[in-house]
């Protein structure tokens, strides 16, 4: 079954794993496995030669990976990885990179990713900042007296709050990350913009057998930090933030 047209690649698994291909893929295409060198690439044919990316395509990529990840260790590819043909998938990927891919499969066996996002509760953190910095309350009073003309003074109030957040963010992020990192084998932190309420956005690499322990620690951390910091976690996900292949230069 050599598909017509370019091939979209979701991930690579060990071909011994006997994986059922995901129920559907990007652009609603049927997914299948392409095998070579003891490896199997999870792929689908891209209909036409141009793919207009939609929101559901992003979801489809992630869901396909999750379906495979529930069955075996999968090395996830970045969204939008497309090779010209099935022969290229075999040659350029499964044969040319066989050694590296086998190594990665071994290294990431049973490792999953948990993403944790921590965000300041606006009301609670602003309350803390106002009580620790009297300048904020003063600027606010000035803004109120000015009424409609207080636009810039209002911005000043916001600036003071943003400055206060920036001053505590690094320490907060380090504390949270430190507690959770103790239960992870690797950590990858996304850059955090200084202007908003985000405290940290970090991926943790956790062994499947350690998921419960990680979860318990996350619960403890969240209980400790409430009500000023809120947490969201996603996972187990395929370890996309941690895998990488050497680049040919």
């Amino acid at each position: 079954m050599t598909g017509e047209g370019p091939i979209y690649v979701y991930g690579v698994v060990s071909s011994g794993a006997d994986v059922a291909p995901p129920t559907s893929g990007v652009a609603d295409a049927a997914t299948r496995l392409v095998e070579s060198n003891g490896l199997a690439a999870v792929v689908s044919t891209v209909p036409g030669d141009r793919l207009r990316v939609r929101r559901r395509d992003l979801m489809a990529h992630l869901h396909a990976l999750e379906e495979v990840s529930a069955q075996t260790t999968v090395l996830p590819f970045r969204f939008g990885t497309v090779l010209p043909s099935e022969a290229d998938v075999e040659r350029e990927l499964l044969q040319a990179r066989a050694e590296e891919l086998h190594e990665l499969l071994e290294r990431f066996a049973d490792a999953v990713q948990v993403n944790v996002k921590a965000t300041y509760d606006e009301t609670e953190v602003v309350r803390e900042l106002v009580s620790s910095n009297p300048e904020i309350a003063r600027a606010r009073e000035r803004a109120k007296k000015l009424g409609d003309a207080g636009y810039y003074e209002n911005i000043r109030v916001g600036e003071l709050v943003a400055g206060g957040l920036a001053a505590r963010r690094a320490a907060d992020a380090e504390r949270l990350q430190g507690s959770l990192a103790a239960l992870a084998s690797d950590v990858a932190a996304d850059p955090v913009d200084d202007g908003g309420l985000l405290v940290m956005k970090t991926s943790f690499l956790v062994d499947r057998s350690g998921l419960e322990g990680f979860d318990a620690e996350l619960e403890a951390v969240a209980a400790r930090e409430a009500p000023v910091i809120r947490f969201e976690s996603f996972g187990p996900l395929p370890p996309a933030a941690f895998v990488s292949l050497g680049q040919e230069s």
């Binding site: 990316v53 992003l58 869901h63 970045r78 990885t81 010209p84 009301t123 606010r140 109120k144 996309a240």
Partner: protein
């Protein structure tokens, strides 16, 4: 204040992200890459870039924080203006930004771009 401290309110867990921004975080620029060119040029796939990420202009953020400061003691300073501010709280603005990003990812999302230009 009416805000109760509910234990699980501070930790939300899901097996998989459903919000667009969170999905983008997981798979858009993370994961294996074979060669840098593969994604971009082989078939002209319209790769989403940093544009799709949510950026809230800093002035908007400052004004939102100022509103949050105002909300703190609403009970003592009941004025019409403040009530208005409370209704247009920060959460909604953030949601708007996410919708905007979503539009960019779907056909005919040009409307959002125009809005940005006119700023």
């Amino acid at each position: 204040m009416a805000v109760a401290t509910r234990g699980n309110d501070y930790l939300q867990r899901a097996p998989s992200p459903s919000g667009l921004a969170d999905v983008i975080d997981v798979i858009l620029d993370k994961g294996l890459v074979i060669d840098a060119y593969v994604r971009v040029s082989v078939i002209g796939i319209e790769v989403l870039t940093i544009d799709a990420r949510i950026v809230i202009a800093s002035v908007d953020t400052y004004l939102r924080f100022a509103e949050a400061v105002n909300r703190l003691d609403l009970t003592q300073t009941e004025t019409a203006g403040l009530a208005e501010l409370r209704d247009g709280g920060g959460g909604e603005k953030a949601k708007g930004a996410i919708e905007g990003a979503k539009e960019k990812l779907t056909p005919g999302g040009g409307k959002d771009k125009q809005k940005e230009k006119s700023r």
